[in-house]
């Protein structure tokens, strides 16, 4: 707390899986293990340092957190058990909640993915990709056409969606997640 206001660090540290962020020794094993860090604006170690310095806008406007592919190598190797991957995902959630516009299409991808699951209870690849390309760049879909044809040929991508049983229960779960749930 600074002058009665919650700091960015406190906000992050109060999220259950991110509570050890204060214990980071900045050794950099997370960045050294990260499979995509070459493309990050700031590597994961630096993101943690920036959170601790209260650089909220810089962190949430960067592409970094969105490039985490959840391979969890950082988390497996972290000597202080900080769980950097969890912190990246928590930061994503804060960015979305607070309306940050990150310089990446990943958010749209996440949204289309979630929509598809919400609708069918499982991933419907054809509809999900269609939705994603329509929202971003429809022409980019053309590049994927050969792959789509191949998948269709091998019956790996059904054209029509299949739904799961007991969708009402799934909807309840979704409802609870989005509204914070009721106990």
């Amino acid at each position: 707390m600074i002058n009665g206001k919650t700091t960015f660090l406190n906000e992050v540290a109060s999220i259950p899986a991110c509570d050890k962020i204060n214990e980071c020794v900045q050794c950099g094993v997370c960045s050294g293990s990260c499979t995509t860090a070459e493309h990050w604006e700031y590597p994961p170690r630096k993101i943690i340092a920036m959170v601790r310095s209260g650089m909220k806008d810089e962190v949430l406007n960067s592409n970094s957190i969105w490039y985490c592919v959840s391979c969890y190598l950082c988390t497996a190797r972290c000597p202080r058990n900080i769980k950097p991957a969890n912190i990246m995902h928590a930061l994503e959630a804060i960015a979305l909640k607070e309306g940050y516009k990150p310089p990446t299409k990943t958010t749209t991808m996440y949204r289309s993915f979630a929509n598809s699951i919400e609708k069918n209870g499982r991933i419907y690849e054809f509809g999900f990709m269609l939705d994603y390309f329509l929202k971003t760049n429809p022409f980019a879909a053309l590049k994927m056409l050969p792959l789509a044809v191949n998948l269709l040929k091998h019956k790996r991508m059904p054209l029509l969606p299949k739904s799961v049983k007991g969708k009402d229960q799934l909807n309840k779960i979704f409802h609870n997640i989005t509204t914070g749930g009721s106990r």
């Binding site: 020794v25 900045q26 050794c27 950099g28 094993v29 997370c30 960045s31 050294g32 293990s33 990260c34 860090a37 070459e38 700031y42 590597p43 170690r45 630096k46 190598l73 190797r77 000597p79 202080r80 058990n81």
Partner: protein, 653 residues
């Protein structure tokens, strides 16, 4: 004599008085049964504080004393002495801990004051029933046992032996020397490790006051401070130490080659061997597991060629009984084995080696005669030294091993010296160069051109992504000071492994009745003020068995342990606490439950009278037998039922 109790409540500056309302506690105590005087004072442990007690004993006839202050761990002896100087038996004293148990751990002043009152009330009711007890004195045997013949054991043995006292130095390996003998140079002075150690080793070997028992282990320990009885197992060497003159003919004739433990398996030794050329004693030993004669029943080449008939295949383990007054444990450490860290590839990737392997490689008496070579026989052009391997990591060891930063920098220096034009990189998290001349050495290594990257590498791989990386080991890391992830191709990677306790540290601790901490290092009596003694009187510890430390710290601690032992020897006797248990023989049913329960082997069974008896010198006053006795025949002096019930009553009213 009607008890007249004096109660003294200590402020301990603001440590207690900052939370507890000491005046109201003193006032409360004044109203308790039997209390004739109650006071509060700023520092009871100070001389004026102690004088208060003495004065009240003389002037007011106080004959029981309660001090409400800190933990008895520190000042119980102080106040007992004050009570004794006032003319009372020192056991007419009770301490209420209102600091560690109260003011330091209770936030609300109101609650803390209530608790302090309850603790004082308990102490007052307890001291009412105290009885006068006499401490016992037992003689101290002037001989000393030292377990572990590394630099710590050698140093302690020489200190004690040079004072004219006899030392039994037990070492499990065939020679003394320990890990220090394996090292090439020592930081930061770059003294040749063997050159400074071997003179001490030969002094030990020749010293009239040191009985060296190598290739030996401790079987059993009994007794107590001043009077330990130790059974030492001298493992069969199959070589008569009295006859062998260390000529080495047997070693040249032996046909069996075995990985050398001393050279970290980088060279071969024979099945009959000494670990290294300067071994003390210079007596060979036959490795039964690999000897052809023991495996197949024939060979005996060593026997045929030995001119002094020293080989004896019939030799058996011999158990030696010794009596000593004190014991120093200097059992040392084990290097962390980095193979569980899969991402560093130790054991999988050629040319990823540990620090001890590097020490042997760089040593002129080592397997490559001091040439640093890759597995393919070529010299490396670039070398990565990785700090904190297995240390500062919750998955392996949380602690810092304290020596790795410095030995890594020593390696960097040696590499520059041994490999012309070598490019050396150090990968560190924090540089810890805290000793005398250490920071200066760091600076020297920087000047020599070693590049320091701040970042713990994520992985080491041989999978090349670019032509330059082909055939190299690639260190993948973030240069955290630049904030960029990088891949750095090198020829050799040295993993600077940390220090860990031996696998059998717990067993050793159990044998000597001391305890191990969370990480299995032996626990010292006090982490700040008594890092040499243990909770068991007469058992001292020194060196890395107590915690990671470098050579100067180890030598200092070993000398300190020796000084403590010599102090006990020169005093000639030790006082033993009077709070021991005793058995009422009329009540004892002879069931022998207590015999098995006693952790100190202090209880024996009298076959003639069919009752158990407690050896008071061995009894530590733990109370286990008292609780275990089904007949209620055992009483614990100073912890009688009466006293404990009164104490409980005092807390509960």
């Amino acid at each position: 004599m009607e008890p007249k109790i004096g109660v003294y409540v200590c402020h301990c500056g603001s440590n207690i008085a900052g939370v507890v309302d000491v005046e109201s506690v003193a006032k409360f105590a004044g109203g308790l049964p039997g209390v004739v005087v109650s006071r509060d004072y700023k520092f009871m442990c100070s001389d004026p504080g102690q004088d208060l007690i003495k004065k009240d004993i003389k002037e007011l006839g106080v004959n029981r004393v309660v001090v409400a202050s800190c933990s008895p761990q520190m000042h119980e002896p102080t106040f007992r002495r004050a009570v004794q100087e006032g003319g009372l038996n020192p056991y007419y004293f009770e301490m209420a801990n209102i600091r560690e148990h109260c003011s330091w751990v209770t936030e609300s002043p109101k609650e803390a004051t209530e608790k302090a009152k309850a603790l004082v009330s308990a102490a007052v009711r307890r001291v009412y029933y105290h009885q006068p007890l006499e401490n016992k004195e037992v003689p101290v045997h002037p001989d000393t046992l030292i377990v572990g013949g590394g630099i710590a054991g050698i140093q302690a043995a020489l200190e004690i032996a040079n004072a004219g006292r006899k030392v039994y130095l037990v070492e499990k390996e065939p020679s003394i020397g320990g890990h220090m003998m394996q090292l090439d140079k020592t930081f930061p002075t770059l003294d040749c490790s063997a050159c400074i150690l071997t003179p001490k080793m030969s002094l030990v070997g020749a010293h009239p006051m040191i009985e060296l028992l190598t290739y030996s282990e401790i079987d059993n320990v009994s007794g107590y401070v001043g009077n330990f009885r130790i059974k030492i197992r001298k493992k069969a060497r199959y070589v008569d130490a009295a006859k062998c003159n260390g000529c080495g003919t047997c070693m040249t004739k032996c046909p069996v080659k075995v990985d050398s433990e001393f050279d970290e398996k980088l060279s071969k030794r024979k099945a009959i061997y000494t670990p290294f050329a300067q071994a003390v004693p210079n007596v060979t030993v036959i490795d039964r597991e690999h000897c052809t004669y023991f495996l197949k029943g024939k060979c005996r080449a060593c026997e045929k060629f030995c001119e002094r008939n020293a080989i004896n295949f019939q030799q058996e383990d011999e158990v030696v009984d010794v009596e000593v007054g004190n014991v120093i444990l200097t059992t040392g450490y084990k290097l962390f084995d980095p193979s569980p860290i899969k991402e560093y590839g130790y054991g999988r990737l050629d040319n990823v080696i540990t620090s001890l392997e590097f020490e042997r490689l760089v040593n002129s008496a080592g397997p490559t005669s001091g040439h640093i070579l890759l597995k393919n026989g070529k010299e490396p052009e670039s070398i990565a030294l990785i700090h904190c391997v297995g240390s500062r990591d919750e998955k392996y060891h949380e602690y810092c091993s304290r020596v790795c930063c410095m030995y890594a920098m020593k390696f960097a220096h040696l590499l520059k010296e041994h490999v012309h034009g070598a490019q050396v990189y150090e990968f560190y998290i924090d540089i810890r160069s805290f000793g005398k001349g250490y920071e200066e050495f760091y600076n020297r290594v920087q000047k020599e051109g070693t590049v320091f990257f701040r970042g713990r590498p994520g992985e080491i791989t041989d999978v090349a992504q670019t032509p330059e990386e082909k055939g190299k080991l690639i260190v993948q890391f973030e240069d955290t000071l630049v904030g960029k992830k990088r891949r750095l191709p090198v020829d050799m990677v040295v993993l600077c492994s940390g220090i860990e306790p031996h696998d059998d540290a717990q067993d050793t601790a159990h044998k000597f009745n001391i305890s191990c901490g969370k990480e299995n290092f032996f626990t010292e009596k006090h982490p700040k003020l008594d890092p040499v003694a243990t909770m068991t009187d007469g058992i001292f510890i020194a060196g890395c068995c107590q915690g990671p430390k470098d050579i100067p710290d180890t030598v200092a601690q070993a000398s300190a342990a020796a000084a403590r032992v010599l102090a006990l020897i020169s005093k000639g006797k030790v006082e033993i606490e009077a709070d021991t248990a005793f058995i009422d023989e009329d009540k004892c049913s002879g069931c022998r439950v207590c015999n098995l329960l006693c952790p100190y082997n202090a209880i024996s069974f009298d076959e003639k009278n069919k009752v158990s008896r407690i050896n008071e010198a061995l009894c530590k006053g733990c109370g286990t037998c008292v609780a275990g006795c089904p007949s209620g025949a055992i009483t614990h002096r100073h912890f009688t039922n009466e006293q404990i019930n009164a104490e409980l009553e005092g807390i509960l009213v």
